[in-house]
Symmetry: C2
DNA sequence: CCGTAAATGTCGTCG
DNA sequence: CGACGACGTTTACGG
């Protein structure tokens, strides 16, 4: 990883064109080949960047030092350097990697194992049930043999209700499945999503991730 | 802006929980208060971060140096530091700011000027036709005097079809306009969006940005 | 490699 | 402050 603090101006020509006038910025060059140009704000997002795979060529033009970064799509990042104030390289070694907990995939997995928390006596038909417009998170059968489509979200927003609505529309055309009703399951459901769901006849269920995880815990299973 | 290269381990507790075992990484502390932890890959995205507004407290715990970053939502980023390999601060001064030249606004403008590329003999009623739920990109009249609502996107995704569907629902309630049909125009239309559009009776048109621009080009207008 | 959905999305703008 | 849409979205995952 190379860290450069430099007075520079930048032009990006690619999916859009963008320009940065001369100023002092951080140029971050990573081992994966990516280049990003940071100001002292905007959280972690750079002003400009080039994602890997790409190539950085340090050249000298009429106006002085010019770095040219290109990728295979022909996008270009041109960095004209006026003055370098700092330049250091560092070997970071191997990154062991990030472990995450609490994402939608886990929630879906836990609910698949414990569909009874959504409805008494329900059984799982399958996870990621395929349709023409994408997979339904969970497809279940209730005690009366009726089909239930379940959309799982970490945070239940209006988009999720729309998504489930589309699935229901399609599934209800399948004579073998119809009538199919919908359940919107999330750790938190926004009021607007709840309203829309009610309007569409979709049931909302707030799920307790910690409780599901607790029940799923191997320790607990012993009892 | 402060740049620290350090052997560290990190825990994030917030919208999810995440953990990074001990390794060497870049800690980037910006003047806006943000903290981000970068490995030597993943383009510009950090492994972990805290967006401003937040507060960084450098403390010493039982296990050595511990940096605690918190925000107002109670999210926490805990950075345990084993060894600092580099630590430098830099005054970047004022950032003049980025200027962008967008594509999708121009696409709409070009199509407004050249609605005939969407349908033979069509005429523009108006751009940004207002409705209760937002403006329709383009409203046109075809050769038979029927109304056409057009949604313009750079990339045609399923969301755009949903958006147009909502407009059509509203516009068709207006007796003076109804019946209104829909056209989904984009440089690229995703298969899923295409399927949904077909299902909704919405026509898809792939537009050639370069060709439109070429036709619009002042040089070309001379002839 | 393409297509799709998730994301600690982030970042504007507009009520 | 919250919603709504755009983003050079990026990123991970599955066929």
């Amino acid at each position: 990883m190379r860290l450069v603090i430099a007075r520079c101006r930048v032009d990006y020509v690619g999916r859009l064109t963008a320009h940065l006038p001369m100023a002092t910025r951080l140029l971050l060059i990573k081992a994966d080949g990516s280049v990003s140009i940071h100001a002292d704000d905007r959280a972690y997002k750079p002003l400009n960047w080039m994602s890997p795979p790409c190539e950085l060529v340090e050249g000298t033009g009429a106006d002085g030092v010019l770095w040219t970064v290109t990728n295979r799509s022909g996008e270009r990042l041109l960095i004209g350097i006026d003055e370098i104030l700092h330049d250091s390289s560092h070997d970071l070694g191997v990154e062991p990697g990030l472990s995450k907990d609490g994402v939608e995939a886990q929630l879906q997995s836990l609910l698949a194992e414990q569909v009874h928390t959504l409805g008494e006596g329900w059984s799982l038909i399958r996870r990621e049930y395929p349709t023409a417009i994408g997979p339904v998170d969970l497809l279940c059968r209730d005690t009366e043999g009726l089909t239930v489509a379940i959309e799982v979200k970490r945070r239940g927003d209006i988009d999720g209700v729309e998504q489930l609505t589309r699935y229901l529309e399609l599934l209800n055309r399948d004579e073998l499945l119809a009538p199919v009703r919908g359940v919107f399951a999330a750790q938190e459901i926004r009021p607007q999503a709840r309203t829309l769901a009610a309007d569409r006849g979709i049931e909302c269920v707030v799920v307790d991730y910690e409780a599901l995880k607790g029940t799923d815990d191997p320790e607990s299973r012993l009892f």
